[in-house]
Amino acid sequence: MGLVSAVLSGFVLALIAPWIYRIARGATGWLLAIFPLALFAYFLSYIGAVAAGDVVRVSYPWVPSLGINLSFYLDGLSLLFAFLITGIGALVLIYTGGYLKDHSHLGRFYGFILFFMASMLGVVLADNTMGLFLFWELTSVSSFLLIGFEHEKESSRAAALQALLVTALGGMALLGGFLLLNQAVGSWEISELVRQGDAIRTHSLYIPIVLLVLAGAFTKSAQFPFHFWLPSAMEAPTPVSAYLHSATMVKAGVYLLARMTPALAETALWTGTVTAVGAVTMVFGAAIAFRQSDLKLILAYSTVSALGIMMMLLGVGTAGAVQAMVVFLFGHALYKGALFMLAGAIDHEAGTRDVNRLAGLRSAMPVSAAAGLLAALSMAAVPALFGFYGKELFYESLAEDYLMPVLLFASVLTSMIFVAVAVLAGIKPFIGETTSSAKQPHEAPISLWLGPVTLAATGLVLGLWPSMVDKSALLPAIHAVLWRPVFLELALWHGLNPIFLLSMATLASGSGLFIFRSRLLRLFSWLDALRDCGPRNGYSLALAGLNAAAQAQTRVLQSGYLRYYLLIVVATATVLSGYKLLQDIESLSFGRLFDVTFYEAAPALLILLAAFMATRVRSRLAAIAALGVVGFSVALVFVLFSAPDLAMTQFSIETLTVILFVLVFYHLPRFAILSSAWTRARDTFVALTAGGLITAIMLKASGVELHPKISTYYIENSVPLAHGHNIVNVILVEFRGLDTLGEITVLAIAAVGVYALLKFWPGKTETR
């Protein structure tokens, strides 16, 4: 029960958060932070059991008819993510209070953030693939709401839509993958799927499953070529960027692939695709991060790159690589969260995020400067900070396999850029000469520096004493991915081995990159032209194309002309039901075509002839006459086949109709030929086909045995219950008397309408 309420209580809190804000105002962030902290403590209580190899699983029937359960599962991997979500979540809530202080929609913002937190917990704890999919989509929705938070700005709305379209499209692919997985092994539970790895890998659906799941993961985790939504998402307020778009949500794709590794990995398709996409994203993201000057964009592209590293390591999939991935992921969440929050604080206090203009803030913002230094050093993987371990394992895992020199080279290059970017984003704003800026900078309030300081300090403390987390939190997560015992002991000093030397060389050359940054940028400025042919453009083109297609389609379907609506409706119905009917054309019964007497056939043929004439004649009077002939012949049919009441009604009504037509048409213009011959031919064809379909349906239906008729009841009870011998009359005035009353009402309204239309009109009043 605990796990379920841990996830679902967040949604409840999200709903009431706006009201809490109305009462608590400035203290809301601090107050709400208690919730994730309590969850953090709750998850902390599981750490011993999970480290010992236990898993917690709860399951409730959800859609029993489909075998779908609301089930949650807690193992090392889920626990690690739960710590990140709740821990950073608490800091972000506090940070929000300072960052969006007095924003008119702050209450709503808290609600959105909590909504996201609950959804994200759902993603990492769900055991059922349908549950995971649901929470996965909810994170996309909350991300949409948060990116578009400043909804008055057009750029915000566009970025929100872009993120939603890309991630939700991936979500659809993921749903397909999950459905196929269920088809392949007949289970919705991930804990079951991971045990069926061999069956899945040899199943004929394996390739589509992998491609669909990867599409979901790659879009969510902003992998090339779907990465573009993440930098656009920087439109969101900084707490969102720090929380969703670096520390947690974008790692959902990494989480998914890590979770699915036992079920899907270790094939050439998986290894090749994941490694290649990750590696390309890694280098590409880093290179673009290097040339940005906006603090948030630098961090966004470096996040893309970091996600690429994690994907690549998952793709490589060796024990060392998975170890490196988990350690790197944890370190990245710490330093990137801190750097993002600092970027927001700097923006807040100095009034700009342009790194070229930011300098010398250390005297004005000493606390932030210290946090920035620690976070940057961690990102640069300087020894004694936690980021160092991720990098060491990362190099080691690639170096242990000598077939991967290309990957190792790309990784070193990326890491060099990371060093430069870390200095650029975390250190440069604070050092050097103070530049004149619009705002007089001063230290941020405690709510703004508490988050970055906590995360940066955690990076330092865990960097000095990694044994606090390596066996308790990280190793169980590695086990959950690898499913075999591995050894992990993070140590600061491994001796003077080649990896360490490589790390030091990376640091040195990375610093060089930073120093020569402007010169390098000028050297490669010709590459800027490539910016306009990236995947972002593909997105805009696709979106524009979709809109154009929708518009063209609407213009065709919604022409505004009655006859085109009719034509489309009739043609569609005819084609669809005609197609079905054609499949067993031989079942049409023509059996009773010839059991007809002469006097029965006469009115029938007369109807056909008159109907044909009605369409052909040029005179209005002839058309009315033809319509009258049809009506009277129908009355004759009623006479011949035992329906005297119908015949009488039809005769009188038809007479009235003809008179009315003549009276009205007398005042109206003559018929003119308004359509071209081609149009008339087309309409003839459609009309004949539709009529033919009706005939076919009737022939088909006459062979169908009907159920016992309701009529029997009326026939039997007409005399005993209603004391009437004319059953049709009895039905109308007794059994269905209320319906007849309704009919009378309709007629009365029509009569009033006719009278009003004839009596009251402007022309008449004027002449009076």
């Binding site: 009506g631 129908v634 035992s642 213009p669 029509a750 309408g753 006719v754 239309l757």
Partner: protein, 115 residues
């Protein structure tokens, strides 16, 4: 006879539809009338045709009652005929007013009822 009527109904529908697809609003209303007849005849035919046994029990022995024509479709059609007439009368007068107000019976020209 059912088979013959099936073709008659199909023909009526075709003629009605063709008229409803015309640009002249006058032809449209004639098409509507044909459509109404077609629908009535369709229900009548599908309810089963019975010769010379109207659903009137007067003076009929009890055992012969089961053989009479089905009264239910007849009751439905009776309603339909009357309602159809109401609709048609209203539509006719409305169209007359519209044509007089706009000065044309061409649906493509009837873009506004302002005169």
């Amino acid at each position: 006879m059912e088979t013959l009527l099936a073709f008659v109904v199909g023909g009526l529908y075709a003629a009605g539809l063709y008229m409803m697809l015309r640009r002249s609003v006058l032809k449209l209303i004639i098409g509507l009338g044909l459509f109404g007849h077609a629908a009535n005849l369709l229900i009548f035919t599908m309810g089963g045709l019975t010769r010379a046994q109207p659903p009137i029990l007067f003076g009929l022995p009890a055992d012969a009652a089961a053989g009479v024509a089905d009264p239910l479709p007849q009751a439905l059609i009776l309603t339909a005929i009357v309602i159809g007439f109401g609709v048609q009368a209203f539509a006719l007068v409305l169209i007359r007013r519209a044509v007089q107000a706009v000065g044309t019976d061409d649906l493509d020209q009837m873009k506004a009822t302002d005169t």
